[in-house]
């Protein structure tokens, strides 16, 4: 077996356990989108076009609240800005791959493929370029079909569930469950806490703008706190 093939399979195996998170999460998206009145082809178009779960939930939530278009786009994109960091981090590892390969990798750059690949590249510094790209593609191989398939399954299930069982609180629970494990330090806690408090205080602002102001200040406070701690430590 070639080294690339072996890397690819290692990536696949590493990503398989993520199924327990991806399947319910994608099904919930399909279910809520279907209850929001979207047709199956619209839900599939949404998932294929964006392929970033958290921002899809955010956009769906704000579309239902009939928020202004710019607020919907700004908020959902803010959720995806972390991927700029992913792109920066992967570039030195696979920047020498052909442009076409990198263009496909960019579409497949999601939380799971990023986290697994970077951990693997750090663990095995001797990996060659083909091995690195193969591992990345392996790590996203289970994610893509599970995400798309479970979205469709959720959408179909949604049509069978009467609207009075609408899970109005599923999104808050899903988002809080996503956020809590991300709070790895006091600066993270400050960013999240301040952003929540300010958003609640600023609800009098025209729809959605309080969230943008609050989360921007929260983000800056987290980054500032981290910077201050690093300074104080040296």
């Amino acid at each position: 077996m070639s080294a690339s093939r072996e890397s690819y399979l290692r990536g696949v195996r590493a990503a398989l356990p993520f199924a327990v998170v991806i399947v319910p999460f994608a099904m919930l998206f399909g279910l809520l989108a279907s209850e929001a009145g979207l047709q199956l082809y619209e839900i599939v178009a949404f998932s294929v076009s964006v392929f970033a779960g958290a921002s899809q939930f955010a956009a769906l939530h704000l579309l239902q609240d009939q928020a202004p278009l710019l607020v919907i786009l700004a908020t959902s994109l803010a959720v995806n800005l972390r991927m700029l960091m992913y792109s920066v981090t992967l570039a030195p590892h696979v920047g020498a791959a052909p442009l076409g390969v990198r263009a496909v990798m960019a579409y497949l750059l999601v939380d799971q493929s990023f986290a697994l690949s970077v951990a693997e590249y750090d663990k095995r510094p001797s990996m060659t370029l083909p091995e690195k790209t193969a591992y990345f593609f392996g790590a996203v191989t289970p994610v893509l079909p599970l995400w798309m398939g479970s979205t469709v399954a959720g959408a179909l299930a949604g049509r069978a569930i009467p609207p009075e069982y609408a899970l109005d609180f599923a999104v808050p629970i899903a988002f809080l469950a996503m956020t809590a494990p991300m709070i790895r330090s006091w600066p993270h806690a400050l960013a999240a806490g301040l952003s929540v408090v300010l958003t609640l205080v600023l609800t009098f602002l025209p729809y959605g703008t309080g969230l943008l102001v609050g989360s921007t200040i929260g983000m800056a406070a987290g980054a500032g706190f981290e910077y201050w701690r690093e300074k104080a430590a040296t």
């Binding site: 792109s87 920047g95 609408a166 999104v171 996503m178 809590a180 980054a223």
Partner: protein
Amino acid sequence: MIDPNIDRVQFWIVVVVLGLATYAIRFSFLGLLGNRVLPGWLQRSLRYTAVAVLPALVAPAVLWPPATGGEPDAARLLAAVVTMVVGLATRQMIIAALAGVVTLLGLPFLL
């Protein structure tokens, strides 16, 4: 749910623009900018975007749920707290979500 009818023009603009812009974010350094380094303050800020936006997005619905007409609701508040606490303690998204759902559905039977 304020109005279940999503405006289709708005929906398709979101699908196309959000899709393209998200792809542009992913492609940026991987595809075009290569080994250029981001300024430190920007790198630091990016680490805090998701953690600031996600909880704030749902905070109003936790305190003032549309399903109860905006009245604070003990089951929903407690479910949110349990989800956060279990998520912080276990670092497992799926366990945190399950704990929240169990609290939300189970509490009305206990009260």
